[in-house]
């Protein structure tokens, strides 16, 4: 009996360890927008594509650039700079569209450039202060620090939320 309970305890401990280990690490895709580096959950990212011809949709909010043809699917594309009210910049050779899935909807986000995949321990992430990098803290889940660089963790659900438009 005693042995059994000990084994059980051990199993529990291992479980707990695995659990916290996974919980503790953010897996992020990072990208640039102006001077700042941003990170989004890797699980939300479907793919990253180069800029292509965007068909404008009339009478939509200004940050919606239009729709693109993603291998037979028509998906909306938004300009993250416009979304965050950052100064507008022309497209460069580094400009990319990150295709993400947010609450079952697939959308593309235009960013200045994609950097890399990153594992970020949760201990290095702090809650957002009211204004970070000029964008509203409502869009931010937290701020991570890697080698003196700041990474702003975005809350994707807020980006697709059109009720946030008014700001």
């Amino acid at each position: 009996m005693e042995k059994d309970s000990k084994e059980e305890e051990l199993a529990l401990n291992i479980d707990a360890e695995l659990f916290t280990k996974e919980e503790d690490i953010y897996q992020l895709v990072t990208f640039l927008l102006g001077e700042e580096m941003y990170g989004i959950d890797i699980l939300a990212v479907q793919e990253i594509i180069r800029m292509e011809n965007i068909t404008e949709i009339p009478r939509t909010v200004d940050y919606v650039e239009g729709v693109i043809n993603l291998r037979g699917k028509v998906i909306p594309v938004i300009d993250l700079r416009k979304r965050f009210n950052l100064p507008i910049q022309d497209e460069t050779k580094d400009t990319r569209i990150i295709v993400v899935e947010i609450e079952d909807k697939i959308i593309g986000m235009i960013v200045d450039g994609v950097s890399k995949v990153l594992r970020l321990p949760a201990s290095l992430v702090e809650p957002p202060s009211p204004i970070v990098g000029g964008i509203d803290s409502n869009y931010i889940k937290g701020v991570g620090k890697v080698n003196e660089n700041l990474i702003i963790l975005l809350d994707l659900t807020k980006i697709n939320d059109s009720s946030m438009n008014i700001m």
Binding site: T55, P58, R59, V64, V67, N69, G72
Partner: protein, 731 residues
């Protein structure tokens, strides 16, 4: 897992049986002694009872058991069926439908006690031979528990065998060869487990990534995720955790899955992939393994089959007429071999792929004409032309073939109506004969689903407001029994549905005064209105001619909703009525929603597609022919004044065509309304695959959807009905 599949099978089967019950009861109402139908109903109740018992839907089992018992007695002529019994049985049917709904919703709270008691009341009127049956049921239950224990034992023995097998396993070196590294003990054990399982395949995947991939580690991550979605990851080289450190451009993954090689290939091929090799390593297992595999499988398989035995046994105990039951089974088997049941999502997926093919086809055509411009008519271009025309033919055939798969007979909707008309006419004390024609007419499944509610409303309307009461009909010198005639047939690429009644028709004058009193139109308008225009008043929102709202046709929806639904399906609805003689409603719908013929137009730099069904004509007018009425632009075409909309203006694309001397106007129509769209150029007719814009971000009034053109760009489809409505509101 297998449980879920059983439930889905049961639901499909049960829906069919309930339909048979419904049809049977309706026929019995006319001919209460038809033995063939009585047998049919009995069998349906019996099948339902068996099926529901197997999946554990006790309420359904209880009801169908009583039904079965009653019909058993009727069959043996120990009980005479009366109309009042049928009423109860129809109620039971409704509850059965509700119970089916429970399976979908997952909320199991339907109260069956009322109908169940009523059924038992009928049973009590007869002699009670029930006890015998209950005993049998108990015996069945015992049988089932016995089998359960057999299954459990079988699993145990399987476990033991597997352990033995793990110790024996030594082969599989082709695996470590493929993966390029030695397997650990755990991994080797996992491999053996997969090889021993007949359902699982062992796959080795070798992916090489092209140089133009931006973030290799992200891509690798996705490959791993896909593999995990498809099955269980056993091992990889390099290991998943190491991926991010060294950016490798090649990865080998070993995983197990039940899906086929093709599925995996489809899932894993992404634009970044340079080359991909998929090996089914399961196909050539060690002969030693194969030998031990056989005896291992058999003890599991046997109990798997066995749970079905009690059903067959039950059938033999319960059905006195043994000869009939097997005959039916043979019949079912024959059916099974010629039809297969396919998840409609799979067909939709196929249709999507075919849509892409159509897009590519258009792209080829464009390429060919480009090449001809550059190289002239050289032989190779001619060859290309020929190949493309072949491709076009095959693509068209394939697309049509897939469209055919989605076609279902309109009977799926029509079959609901006899019951509705029956209930309604009883309630309203009218005599009504529903005649249905063309129920085999096929149309797209999605259209069938969308048209069901509007049709139901129109049928209710005909019964409720169209057909008069028996006394009224007698007074008018008509037959006592009114007729509602429902017909469906194809006309070109459209389907026509007619609902005709020989009732009292619509009184135009009453309509007009009603519309005036409701403030929908002005008195002066009414006087100027032709009868044809006036009839369409019924489609205005907020219009209802019933003196009092009956709970039957006035369920908060009116004809305006019907019209809106038909409009949304790119359809047209027309009313013809003659006072005292009856009304005919005609609905014209496209056969499919997935592909439409459009007129492609250019507006500034963008391409807009206008559904061809709405296009009436194309006109070229000079600037001077456009004049203004009440600040709105209009033109006169063959003595008809037509308001025009400048698409560049309403879509806010910048006013390019304002200063042109001559402009092209596409005249579009919906019902009797006409407006003109000013465009910058016409590109041509094209069939396009509709892609919905199902994201609130790109929800734009006046845009019905998008489509992909031959050059890969996206064209927007103009929502004609919304734009016409807008013009009408502004007038």
């Amino acid at each position: 897992m297998s449980f879920e599949i059983d439930i889905q099978d049961f639901i499909d089967e049960a829906e069919e049986q309930i339909r048979i019950l419904n049809d049977g009861l309706l026929s019995l109402e006319k001919d209460k002694t038809n033995e063939e139908i009585i047998n049919e109903v009995f069998r349906a109740a019996h099948t339902l009872k068996g099926g529901s018992g197997l999946v554990g839907f006790d309420k359904m089992t209880e009801l169908t058991h009583s039904l079965e018992s009653i019909f058993d007695l009727i069959r043996d002529k120990k009980f005479a069926l009366e109309s009042e019994h049928l009423d109860v049985m129809f109620e039971v049917l409704d509850v059965l439908m509700e119970l089916m709904g429970e399976v979908d919703s997952g909320v199991f709270n339907t109260d069956i006690s009322i109908v169940s008691d009523k059924l038992k009341g009928i049973l009590a009127q007869t002699e009670d031979p029930n006890k015998k049956k209950k005993k049998k049921k108990k015996a069945e239950k015992e049988l089932v528990t016995e089998i359960d224990s057999v299954v459990a034992e079988g699993l145990d023995s399987q476990l033991e065998e597997t352990e033995v097998l793990e110790l024996q396993a030594i082969g599989g070196d082709n695996i470590s060869e493929f993966i390029g590294t030695a397997l650990s003990v755990e991994e080797r054990m996992a491999v053996d487990r997969v090889c021993a399982d007949a359902d699982l395949n062992l796959y080795g995947v070798d992916v090489k990534i092209g140089d133009d991939c931006d973030v290799i580690s992200l891509f690798m991550f996705m490959i791993f995720n896909k593999a995990k979605e498809l099955g269980d990851l056993i091992m990889s080289n390099p290991k998943e955790d190491d991926l991010e450190e060294d950016e490798m451009s090649e990865v080998k993954i070993l995983f197990s899955s039940i899906v086929s090689e093709d599925v995996i290939k489809n899932e894993l091929v992404m634009p970044e992939v340079e080359s991909i090799t998929i090996k089914n390593l399961d196909l050539a297992p060690d002969p030693m393994l194969k030998a031990t595999e056989e005896p291992l499988i058999s003890p599991i398989l046997e109990p798997k089959i066995e749970p079905e035995l009690p059903v067959i046994a039950k059938e033999e105990i319960n059905t006195e007429e043994k000869s009939k039951a097997p005959a039916k089974e043979v019949e079912q088997k024959r059916k099974l071999s010629t039809t297969i049941r396919v998840d409609s999502q799979k067909i939709d997926g196929l249709l999507n792929t075919a849509g892409e093919l159509v897009i590519n086809k258009a792209r080829f055509v464009q390429l060919e004409s480009d090449l001809e411009k550059v190289f002239g008519r050289i032989p190779k271009v001619g060859e290309l032309k020929e190949t493309i025309s072949q491709l076009m033919r095959i693509t068209n055939e394939m697309q049509e073939g897939i469209m055919q798969l989605r076609m279902v007979p309109i009977d799926q909707v029509f079959s609901k109506f006899p019951r509705v008309v029956r209930d309604l006419s009883r309630k309203l004390d009218k005599k009504i004969n529903l005649v249905i024609k063309g129920k085999d007419t096929e149309l797209d499944k999605s259209v069938v689903e969308e048209i069901s509610d509007p049709l139901m409303h129109l049928i209710r309307n005909s019964v409720d407001h169209g057909i008069e009461t028996v006394t009224d009909r007698r007074a008018a010198g008509k037959k006592e029994e009114g007729t509602v005639f429902l017909n469906a047939y194809h006309q070109g690429s459209s389907i026509i549905i007619e609902i005709k009644d020989d009732g009292k028709g619509i009184d135009i004058e009453v309509l007009k005064s009603k519309a005036i009193s409701k403030g929908l139109i002005m008195e002066s308008d009414a006087a100027a209105m032709s009868d044809k225009e006036a009839v369409n008043l019924i489609f205005l929102p907020g219009f209802s001619t019933a003196k009092e709202l009956s709970d039957l046709s006035g369920r908060g929806v009116g004809m305006d909703v019907v019209k809106k639904n038909v409009d949304r399906l790119n359809g047209v609805i027309e009313v013809i009525t003659e006072k005292g003689r009856g009304t005919v409603l005609t609905i014209k719908l496209p056969l499919t929603l997935a592909i439409i013929s459009t007129l492609l137009t250019r507006v500034t730099k963008a391409v807009y597609a206008i559904p061809l069904v709405n296009v009436i004509s194309i006109e070229e007018v000079s600037k001077s022919e456009i004049y203004k009425i009440a600040n709105k632009e209009a033109i006169r075409i063959r003595n008809e004044v037509i308001n025009i909309l400048r698409l560049d203006e309403i879509f806010q694309l910048g006013n390019d065509n304002r200063n042109k001397d001559r402009v092209q106007v596409v005249i579009v129509g919906m019902a009797e309304h006409r407006i003109g769209f000013v465009v910058d150029g016409l590109i041509g007719e094209q069939e396009v695959v509709i892609k919905s814009l199902d994201n609130s971000l790109v929800d734009s009034p006046g845009i019905a959807g998008a489509s992909i053109l031959g050059d890969g760009n996206v064209a927007l489809i103009v929502d004609v009905s919304t734009l016409i409505e807008r013009v009408l509101q502004e007038l």
